[in-house]
Amino acid sequence: MPITYTSGEQVEVYRFSLPVTIGVPLVALIIQAYIPKYVPGFAVYVDLPLLVTIFFAMARRNPIAGLFTGAIIGLAQDMLGHNLIGIYGIAKTVVGYGASSLGVKLDLENAGARLLVTLGFYLVHSAVYFTVARALVNMTQHWSWPHGILAGLVNGLIGVLLYFLLDRFKQRT
């Protein structure tokens, strides 16, 4: 069953140990900052902190935990750049909330479902970032559907592999 509509009681809720909760986002941020030194296109198409946000939000199935996870990871990502702090924070807060809200209603364990969900949330993330950057901060931004879909698919494929890797750290509540 790729996407199963279930009641909240039927969907399994997971938790993670403290080292995993802190370590995985930290490693994602480090890799995201390190790889573009050798592969310049990596930062254009891949957003590992976003994938980690989606994973934790969907696994915990708690909208409040999801939005705070997204906010913290997004703000940390903002601090590594030189743009105003809060643009990634807002975008990832929305994604964290959305992914955990979706996780409450749907059981997303299938690779195809995960790919589609990641593609969708990548576009949501890009749209929120674009809106905030243009409307609130007056940054010059260009929206491109082909780029968005391509990057979303790339993130989806990497996300599917990453989610299966991170599934090992899940602990049943």
Partner: protein
């Protein structure tokens, strides 16, 4: 009321968190992001960079081990090619030295101010921002190495960017391809000036060049020095595309000379000096002097003091004794003021301006040219380097009879300079 709050609790918290972040953005827009968020950014960077530094160390150690101990195929051939290249570059250096001297002389006539890069710090790139919307890199040197904000960052190929924020042991460098960067630039041939800016898609464009100007693709772009960050004349890139832009300006796309996508080592210009051009007093070189320099001549007999042996080639040698005919005389050389006859004893005919005189030469040196040659052993205590005026206007040069190279005496055994 409570039931409403409970029912929409998640949504209310979401709106609250978003509202706080929007408020934070508004505060930053009003007061300036860098000023207000400097500390918090430094903390985050301080948390991430140790890991990146470790990754870079592991990677470079493994690479060094492989390349320096195992993968040595073709090193001999490469060494031979590099030696040939050095020889060619030496010849080129002689020509460029003459050009530079002439330029300095002209600049002095016009009382131009020059900017010199007097000190640089080499640093290694350890990471990036991880976002294509924020084109910055992190380097492994910070305030402890003398790095401060607004210092220029370059590579051997060209300009990279400027230091945005300096931590204790790391610094954040804004690349010239970022949207918020701006570099004063000038086109090498047409001398048109403009401002280089990055675009949202990572390209670099030269702005503020009027559309009625002629700009050809392939033209080199240099720094103009107008931004007070980059010294004038550093290579920035080449023009790849020229199109009509908006508001009567051309849209000139630039390909950066430095590979901004794969930076590894960079130089931070920590010190630059501005001073008036100083020309060397070489405007009175006579044709006879040049001819005398090119012709072989009989050198003075070396003095009995064996300590003076290393001075026979006429060019002050470095302390290591490996100086060449084209080497710059160093004040610390063992024989800084040799007799003029000995100067001309170098067998290899070198161009007249092969010897570069230090800019710190005292103005009284031309008078010294009329003095009689000093004994070599007394020259060893002299720390003042010979100036070009000393070497080129000494009457003993032209009075000496040219002698075939075969008749030149063998240099003392201690002298290992090229003959």
């Amino acid at each position: 009321m409570e039931s409403v709050l409970g029912r929409y609790r998640n949504l209310i918290i979401l709106v609250g968190v978003l509202f706080l972040q929007v408020l934070g953005l508004a505060v930053q827009v009003k007061t300036g992001a860098e000023k207000e968020t400097r500390l918090i950014r430094l903390w985050t960077v301080g948390m991430i960079t140790p890991f990146e530094r470790g990754l870079v160390w592991v990677q470079s150690s493994a690479g060094n081990l492989w390349h320096n101990y195992f993968y040595l195929r073709g090193v001999r051939a490469e060494n031979r090619e590099l030696k040939e290249q050095i020889e060619q570059m030496r010849l080129e250096q002689v020509r460029l030295t003459e050009d530079a001297t002439q330029a300095h002389r002209l600049q002095m006539l016009l009382a131009f101010k020059e900017q010199f890069v007097s000190k640089t710090v080499a640093a290694q790139v350890i990471g990036t921002s991880g976002s294509d919307l924020s084109r910055i890199v992190y380097i492994d040197k910070g305030e402890n190495a003398g790095i401060k904000p607004d210092m220029a960052v370059i590579t051997a190929d060209g300009v990279v960017g400027k230091v945005l924020l300096a931590g204790t042991n790391e610094a954040r460098v804004l690349l010239i391809s970022d949207q918020t960067s701006g570099v004063g630039a000038i086109l090498e041939k047409s001398r048109l000036q403009g401002v280089l800016r990055g675009t949202a898609n990572g390209e670099i464009v030269l702005e503020r060049v009027m559309s009625d100007e002629q700009v050809q693709p392939g033209e080199t772009v240099l720094t103009s020095g107008g931004d007070q960050i980059f010294p004038k004349g550093l290579r920035v890139g080449t023009v790849t595309n020229v199109a009509n832009g908006k508001d009567l300006f051309l849209n000139i796309t630039i390909k950066p000379a430095a590979n901004l996508g794969k930076l590894e080592e960079v130089l931070v210009l920590t010190e630059k000096q501005e001073r008036e051009a100083v020309a060397e007093d070489n405007g009175r070189v006579r044709a006879a002097d040049i001819l005398a320099q090119r012709l072989p001549s009989v050198p003075d007999k070396p003095a009995g003091d064996p300590n003076a042996a290393g001075t026979a080639d006429g060019v002050a040698k470095p302390a290591t004794g490996t100086g060449t005919a084209n080497a710059t005389p160093k004040p610390s050389g063992t024989g800084a003021n040799p007799p003029a006859g000995a100067i001309k004893s170098t067998a290899a005919p070198s161009p007249p301006n092969a010897k570069v005189t230090p800019k710190t030469a005292p103005p009284s040196t031309p008078t010294a040219a009329t003095q009689k040659p000093k004994p070599v052993n007394s020259a060893s205590t002299e720390t003042k380097p010979p100036t070009r005026a000393e070497t080129s206007t000494d009457p003993s040069i032209v009075e000496q009879k040219p002698a075939p190279p075969a008749t030149q005496p063998e240099p003392p055994p201690q002298d290992n300079s090229p003959q």
